[in-house]
């Protein structure tokens, strides 16, 4: 009986959350660009306060993006982004929940660079769609850098581009992710 108890306790402790395996940041960077070739102005913005959490053990990775954090060069573009396109009062955050497919190949305790594939679901403007992209994970002295580039079809997320501005705002937006994570200490 004692043996069973000990084994059970060992299993319990072994399976409990090992905080050292989790990495996070609250200052990740995401850039979106939806400029057409005929547009006189850049339709793009950068968000430098993206929250990202990565579980080294399972490869689970999650992003939370506060839409109000996007910085624009033009005030009016920012107003329209919030009021008309993304309706950020209704949908203040965008989320990505996914997995690094080949996470088991990554050694998070040793410096190295890895090409990865990330698969997951992106929720934006109230709609959720599957996203799959290639990316890079770099381990450098305990800091994990993740970078990825992919594009989304605005229509997929119910983001309407009126015909009047279709020569400026593209049908798809390029998303660039660049986050530097550190260990979630507890």
């Amino acid at each position: 009986m004692k043996k069973i108890l000990l084994v059970a306790i060992a299993l319990f402790l072994g399976a409990s959350t090992n905080a050292q395996d989790k990495y996070f940041t609250k200052n990740g960077t995401i850039i979106f660009d939806a400029t057409t070739s005929t547009s006189p102005e850049k339709v793009a913005a950068v968000n430098k306060s993206v929250t990202c959490v990565l579980d080294g053990k399972t490869g689970n990775v999650q992003f939370s993006v506060l839409m109000k954090g996007f910085e624009f060069e033009q005030a009016l573009m920012r107003e329209h982004f919030h009021e008309n396109y993304l309706e950020t009062e209704k949908f203040p955050r965008s989320l990505f929940k996914g997995q690094i497919i080949n996470s088991s190949q990554i050694n998070y305790s040793k410096n190295g660079n890895y090409d990865v594939t990330v698969k997951g679901q992106l929720t934006m403007h109230g709609l959720t769609k599957d996203v799959e992209t290639n990316g890079k994970v770099s381990v450098n002295d305990g800091k994990i850098s993740i970078a990825a580039k992919f594009s989304v079809l605005l229509n997929d997320y119910g983001i309407e581009v009126p015909r009047l501005v279709s020569d400026k705002v593209a049908k798809s937006a390029g998303i660039k992710v660049d986050c530097s994570l550190q260990a979630l200490g507890k």
Binding site: L5, A8, A15, F24, V53, N60, Q74, L76, R78, V165
Partner: protein, 302 residues
């Protein structure tokens, strides 16, 4: 008893382990403490910085220049001979500048009385949600108008200051929800020179303006001022304007019907001769085009 007790223990521990393992797949984001809801300024109560004639509770973003052309045509009641008023037009051109999120200035010139005008608008308090939120925006606006017509009687002792009038106004407004905003604006106009000695130099009015958003880019607006004192109501009327705002790319079109011709505070508050009852109303529009003259690269703080 012992056996059952131990089996139970194992079962409990097994369940605990199981729940831990499955919990790890769940919300990782919950592990990272979310910041408390910050204070957020409520924006876009109105699509433009003017309801139709009156100043609205909205401001231009810093570094923005707004080029506005305002037109008021003739009275519709004049019928076909005057093409329902379209043959006759009064115009104001203006440039507004956004200095801070809560501070803006503007200059303009009207063809009516060839009047130059300038104003400054400042909001010490703005409507906000979140921690330490506030239910309304409180703004104050003040301006000057300068009549540049030649003197009607050059032989008389004319003073330059006689050309000038001033107005000051308090604007209290609230964006109730995404669709509906309302503001009130008690206003005072002081004219240095008035037509007769029996007329007071000061005019007091209470303005009320509202907008109802019908779709993402279209809204209905109404702008009414109730003249409390200082204007002879036998000769003049309370200015009332009703219109539609249409927003496209970088422009805002405001199309409306109004009984006033004047496009600055002195003119539309003290000299509105038209009457809605007699359909002495006129079609008009405000066309606003925004330019970003100083690029911003900042996160909307607050």
């Amino acid at each position: 008893m012992k056996r059952i007790g131990n089996k139970l223990k194992v079962l409990i521990l097994f369940l605990l382990v199981w729940s831990k393992v499955s919990a790890q797949e769940e919300d990782l984001l919950k592990l990272v403490a979310e910041d408390k809801p910050k204070k957020e300024i409520v924006k876009n109560a109105f699509k433009a910085t003017r309801v139709i004639n009156s100043q609205s509770m909205e401001f231009l973003s810093p570094g923005t220049m707004d080029f506005i052309i305002l037109h008021r045509f003739g009275q519709i009641s004049e019928g076909m001979s005057n093409f329902f008023g379209l043959d006759q037009a009064s115009m104001r051109m203006a440039l507004d500048f956004g200095l801070r999120d809560n501070l803006m200035v503007g200059i303009g010139r009207s063809t009516y009385k060839k009047e130059l005008d300038g104003f400054i608008k400042y909001a010490p308090v703005r409507q906000s949600t979140g921690t330490n939120g506030f239910p309304v925006t409180i703004a104050i606006s003040g301006g000057t108008t300068l009549n540049t017509l030649p003197w009607s009687d050059p032989a008389r002792q004319n003073y330059f200051t006689s050309r000038m009038a001033y107005y000051t106004q308090l604007i209290i407004g609230r964006k109730f929800n995404d669709k509906f905003s309302l503001q009130i604006s008690p206003t005072m106009v002081h004219q240095n020179l008035v037509a007769s000695s029996s007329m007071p130099n000061d005019v007091f009015a209470a303005g009320i303006g509202g907008r109802f958003k019908v779709s993402k880019r279209i809204a209905l607006t109404a702008d009414y001022s109730y003249l409390l004192y200082g204007v002879d109501m036998n000769l003049y009327n309370n200015p009332l304007s009703i219109g539609v705002d249409i927003e496209t790319g970088g422009h805002v079109f405001q199309l409306h019907f109004s009984n006033s011709t004047g496009m600055n505070e002195r003119a539309f508050l003290t000299e509105t001769t038209g009457s809605w009852d007699k359909t002495e109303i006129r079609f008009g529009f405000n066309l606003s085009r925004m330019f970003q003259i100083k690029k911003i690269k900042e996160t909307p703080k607050e």
